[in-house]
Symmetry: C5
Subunit: 99 residues, 5 copies
Amino acid sequence: MIICQVIGHVWATKKEETLSGLKLMVVKEVETNKTDGDTFVAADVVGAGVGERVLVVSGSTARRALGKDDIAIDSAIVGIIDTLEVDRELKKLSEKQVK
Amino acid sequence: MIICQVIGHVWATKKEETLSGLKLMVVKEVETNKTDGDTFVAADVVGAGVGERVLVVSGSTARRALGKDDIAIDSAIVGIIDTLEVDRELKKLSEKQVK
Amino acid sequence: MIICQVIGHVWATKKEETLSGLKLMVVKEVETNKTDGDTFVAADVVGAGVGERVLVVSGSTARRALGKDDIAIDSAIVGIIDTLEVDRELKKLSEKQVK
Amino acid sequence: MIICQVIGHVWATKKEETLSGLKLMVVKEVETNKTDGDTFVAADVVGAGVGERVLVVSGSTARRALGKDDIAIDSAIVGIIDTLEVDRELKKLSEKQVK
Amino acid sequence: MIICQVIGHVWATKKEETLSGLKLMVVKEVETNKTDGDTFVAADVVGAGVGERVLVVSGSTARRALGKDDIAIDSAIVGIIDTLEVDRELKKLSEKQVK
């Protein structure tokens, strides 16, 4: 699961029929170490709002999150983060281990 | 799902037989934060045209979008984007969170 | 499997129901050659603690590690590393092979 | 599907038994926007030759292309490209959209 | 399949039970075009030794290579490379095609 922030919505009238009725949100990866996180689209199953930090799953797991295997979804928001507790010292330490 | 723009077509006479009759389009990732988006090939199931912005799914989900599991496709266009509404402030904010 | 270090915890009250009761930990990739390893969230099935180096699996394999296929998890901690024995000469040698 | 060029062959005497009899080719990603495309190994099911541009599928889809699910293959050449028609203006335009 | 070199071993006493008895090796991607190849852990099914160049599969295919689907493995060594024959001219040519 990756840590993202919800930054918007996307609408598509012409779409594969299994996508009908799904709430599609634009999310952006945060807490990553790339210059900038990826931006992509995920189906929401937990009622997330713009601005919230969320947990996002990908691939076949996203279909499991939506409860049916024949759906054309490969990314889903599965949790709204209350607290993220990271040991910043360890974070830096492990940065040093990386060569 | 990632956000792409359709930029062309590809033709292959010699191909795995399950690909027969599929419309294969060249797409390019947009709304990404890489220096430049990836270019790849996706099967179209929604009648997308060159120039349109589309939603693209990957992996086993692409086979679900095409409605059969034994097809040699790992990328599919599943929606044509009407509106993409992104909070640019949040986008920048989350960029600052990234270190 | 990738080599990570556990660096924290994450809590989410509103979440997809299959995630209830799972211990979700923040992990960071180490022993990678990127400028800095990725940070993401994995379900723990081996009782790992913050600071430990662990083996992490992704995708459909993470669901296998949790013993059920309908769970909304795409990353799991499956082992706590006792010893990591790497031939540093070979490591450098293979770096030279890369062009 | 990604666009690759066949650049060589690989031979392995000691191998997992499901790989016996497969033609394994070295391919290199082209039409990408990275500094340089990835080089990897794919099983060929369409009779591709060194120098040809091909379509390559990955993951579980590669096993579908080979027609059996229990094979130890995660990458397969599924088409030989005759024509690749890309709107270079659009390509550049979408590059500008990327920030 | 990617081309790697075996560079070490990893031991884990506390691990998910399906990993018992597996030989886990540290491998490093070679013949890539990144500044440096990734280092990760793969289960060995062909008796590879440290220093050898091997073929590595990922994802659900790794479980196929191990012959059972319920195993917590997402990366497996499936062949020991005897000969790798790459057309270096083509390799450079395709580098020029990449923009």
